[in-house]
């Protein structure tokens, strides 16, 4: 069961349930009467029962009659009249294309009404594509996206669109054109690497015009509008409206009596009791900026935990559910090991090597600012810091760190620390390879006897594969002691995506047996949210790593540590 993803045994869940039920029923008396002592003293001869259940489960998964081939009478072909099988010149391609479309569609239930509509749309597209030889990548993507959304629209909408008459009849034979594939061979030709794969990722020289300008095909001086698909939004709205079920309300005296009855006496919780409460809690959590899927999963797990629980007297369903949810939230925010940076730095000091911390995150979350705050805190505690400027892309990154270094040295001059400069900046300008600079910085720190090395990396979007590879390479090669993900508290559902993709990139590109993943989270811009603190929950839930620091402003003293109970209290507040 531990390796469920690799070896999918479909009967495992059912088997566990069966074993659980059987064991409980068989030894029910012992449990109820004797309690723990019964557990310790009793002999549980369950092996035969377990083997029997296992055998049953295995057999049930194998038993599935092989699909019998349809006989000729059953198939559709025999039901078609001869007349419609006679091919006339004009009709033939329409029939053939329609059948092919039916086979090729992966969505369940494409009605016949939808088919001609789709066929006409599909037919139009490849012919249109066939005309224009040169299609830029963006336009292909746009076109494919539109087609994809059109395919997945509900059948109702499709039936309203009247099937267009076949205006274009293809004369003669036309090469097979796949809808979603590229229609010319040039784009598939990867022999010349200069055309495919822009040079955005690793700038070779100091200034690369391509990277600065980005998209060269734009008109000079024109500001383009933001493109967005209205289809997407309309579809999302429909999806949200569907699951809202009207809750039945029984008014009058019966309701009041039922409420009183619910208050006193012990009854066990059922799913139906908890559902309305959980629904409300879920909406409350989402309103507090917890990512939607996290809120759903949380409520699910609370429901599962509370199912069948016997409530005490004078406790309502709401209070029990709220209590359980609060416990679950506190437990999420206090994951296993508390990252004690100072303790680990002392350890590294004893072994005479620098303690390396790497900061990663998307653009504009506050990596450099919080790096400066953390170095201030470390200096206050008497450790010397080397800042490695591995952000070689963003203009002004090195200067920013240099200004911070100067300020920190002014605040803590060498005279007050026994002649030692507490902060120094290691930089190699712009355009160089970040991983190389980090490695040189670490060896420089080891030679000069610095206690901590803080590595600042460039911000990058989690979807940007070449940049994620570069980051993963930096972390894999330099093996830092602590990898901190910097995330802002304003982020909503994006937090989930960011963290998942960052972790995935780090795991994929590491050669080691145990890849270095994100070890901790720095939650920044906490002063901008007043009590919508849900981002903390989303991030810790996804990674199960602790929030090490919280940034609450732009001055050096605005560094805090997380207080789980306070955050949960703010979260549960109405």
């Amino acid at each position: 069961v531990g390796f469920q993803k690799i070896l999918t045994l479909t009967y495992v869940d059912k088997l566990i349930d069966d074993v659980h039920k059987e064991f409980r029923d068989k030894y029910r008396n012992e449990f109820q009467q004797k309690g723990t002592l019964g557990l310790l003293n009793g002999t549980f001869d369950f092996k035969d029962d377990f083997m029997r259940l296992l055998r049953d489960a295995e057999e049930s998964s194998k038993v599935r009659a092989p699909t019998v081939m349809k006989t000729f009478e059953q198939s559709l072909k025999s039901q078609k009249t001869v007349k419609c099988m006679i091919e006339t010149r004009g009709e033939k391609p329409k029939e053939k294309v329609k059948n092919k479309k039916n086979k090729g569609s992966k969505k369940e239930g494409t009605e016949a009404v939808a088919a001609p509509g789709k066929a006409s749309a599909g037919d139009k597209q490849p012919s249109a594509a066939g005309d224009r030889e040169e299609l830029t990548k963006d336009e292909i993507l746009q076109k494919n996206r539109e087609e994809f959304f059109k395919r997945h629209m509900k059948a109702g909408e499709k039936s309203s669109k009247s099937p267009k008459p076949e205006a274009q009849k293809e004369k003669g034979k036309k090469p097979r054109v796949w809808d979603l594939g590229n229609s010319n061979a040039k784009v598939l030709d990867y022999s010349n690497s200069a055309t495919n794969g822009s040079a955005e990722a690793c700038p070779v020289e100091e200034f690369d015009p391509d990277t600065a300008l980005g998209d060269r095909n734009r008109e000079r001086g024109r500001l383009y509008d933001l493109e967005y698909e209205s289809d997407d939004e309309a579809e999302e709205e429909k999806v949200i409206q569907n699951p809202s079920k009207p809750s039945a309300k029984k008014g009058g005296l019966g309701g009041m009596f039922g409420m009183l009855k619910g208050l006193v006496g012990s009854k066990s919780l059922t799913r139906e009791d908890m559902d309305p409460v959980l629904e409300k809690m879920k909406d409350h959590l989402i309103a507090k900026n917890v990512a939607a899927e996290i809120a759903v999963q949380l409520c699910e797990s609370v429901a599962k935990k509370l199912e069948g629980k016997v409530m005490g007297t004078f406790t309502t369903v709401t209070s029990t559910v709220k209590q359980a949810l609060q416990e679950a939230l506190v437990q999420i925010l206090q994951p296993q090991r508390r990252v004690d940076v100072l303790r680990d730095v002392m350890d590294a000091q004893r072994h005479r090597r620098p303690y390396v911390v790497t900061f990663c995150g998307v653009n504009g979350v506050g990596k450099s600012t919080n790096l400066a705050k953390i170095s201030f805190w470390l200096i206050e505690n008497g450790f010397s810091v080397l800042i490695a400027a591995c952000d070689t892309f963003r203009a002004g990154a090195v200067e920013q760190l240099r200004t911070h270094t100067r300020r920190l040295n002014a605040l803590h001059p060498p005279e007050s620390h026994g002649g030692r400069t507490m902060v120094q900046l290691y930089e190699k300008g712009y355009g160089k390879d970040a991983a190389g600079i980090a490695m040189e910085a670490i060896s420089y720190a080891r030679n000069q006897g610095f206690d901590v090395v803080l590595v600042d990396t460039a911000g990058r979007m989690q979807d940007n594969a070449p940049l994620m590879t570069a980051l993963a390479k930096l972390i894999a090669v330099n093996a830092p002691d602590l990898v901190l993900f910097v995330g802002e508290a304003l982020v909503g559902n994006e937090a989930v995506d960011q963290l998942v993709k960052f972790n995935k990139a780090l795991a994929d590109h590491s050669m080691a047996q145990t890849p270095r993943l994100i070890d901790g989270i720095v939650l920044t811009k906490f002063d901008t949210i007043d009590d919508k603190v849900g981002a903390a929950i989303s991030m810790t839930y996804i990674t199960s790593k602790p929030i090490v620091f919280v940034g609450t402003g732009q001055t050096y003293c605005d560094l805090r540590s997380l207080n789980a109970k306070a955050v949960v209290a703010a979260l549960m507040k109405a």
Partner: protein, 259 residues
């Protein structure tokens, strides 16, 4: 004050009793019933909150569950990593009817704090089980957990007696209790410095509680704690392996004293 207030009511009551008016009488009876219920309720609550529990804490694989089983039944059982608490009443041997509730809590990293939170208020004494064989490797984790237990506000308020049981003494490589005590004191000394130097908590309250563990100027020592701390060596498996009895007389004597 209660008696003073009752006087005029008693007069009215007497008057009513002479000329019974059913409505008022029933109301008075109802009030009386409610008062009695409240009294019983408070009594029951008080009983429940009396601390009668002895918690078995420790890291994973320290030997808590086996110790628990041996104390209660005297037999050796194969154990698995606990994922939930187990509690039973333990009768102290060769004594009157003194008994305590032994509670065995899971030591797994993700569960231990949660269960500690639930049971710390009911703790009269805490047995912290340490794996003496793996101690050298795990000293930081042991100290961190012990620090978290000691710094907890409820624990500091109640000051339950603390026994650090150095388990697995039947193995030859086990460290002695004295060595474990010294190492723990050194590690806790460092920990209290690093923990109190951590950035302050979000709403202003200091991390790790305002309590400074032990005295400020001097090195940390277990005698500086508000509760009584003892070290004892024991072995849940016993020197003869699975057939023999467990070797924990020190532990039993301490439990007898606590009960």
């Amino acid at each position: 004050a209660m008696a003073g207030r009752l006087e005029p009511h008693l007069e009215a009551l007497r008057r009513e009793l002479r000329a019974p008016d059913p409505a008022v009488l029933s109301v008075l009876l109802a009030l009386l019933a409610v008062a009695v219920t409240l009294l019983i309720w408070r009594f029951v609550q008080g009983r429940r909150s009396s601390r009668k529990a002895v918690l078995l804490l420790g890291l994973c694989d320290a030997g808590k569950t086996l110790l628990f089983a041996q104390l209660l039944t005297g037999k050796y059982r194969d154990t698995q990593t606990s994922i939930t608490d187990s509690s039973a009443v333990y009768r102290v041997s060769n004594n009157k009817s003194a008994n305590v509730t032994l509670i065995d809590l899971p030591g797994h990293k993700s569960l231990r704090l949660q269960f500690l939170e639930r049971f710390k208020a009911a703790a009269r004494a805490i047995v912290f089980v340490v794996d003496s064989v793996a101690f050298q490797r795990e000293v930081k984790d042991v100290a961190e957990f012990l620090y978290q237990v000691l710094v907890d506000s409820t624990v500091l308020k109640n000051a339950p007696a603390l026994l650090i049981a150095c388990n697995k003494q039947d193995v030859t490589m086990a460290k002695s209790a004295k060595l474990i005590q010294q190492q723990l004191e050194k590690e806790l000394n460092t920990l209290r410095v690093t923990r109190s130097a951590a950035p302050t908590s979000l709403d202003g309250s200091a991390t790790g509680g305002p309590a400074q563990l032990g005295k400020k100027g001097k090195d940390f020592d277990f005698s500086q704690l508000p509760m009584k701390v003892e070290f004892v060596e024991c072995s849940a498996r016993g020197s003869k392996g699975e057939e023999g009895d467990a070797d924990f007389e020190g532990l039993e004597k301490w439990l007898a004293r606590i009960a």
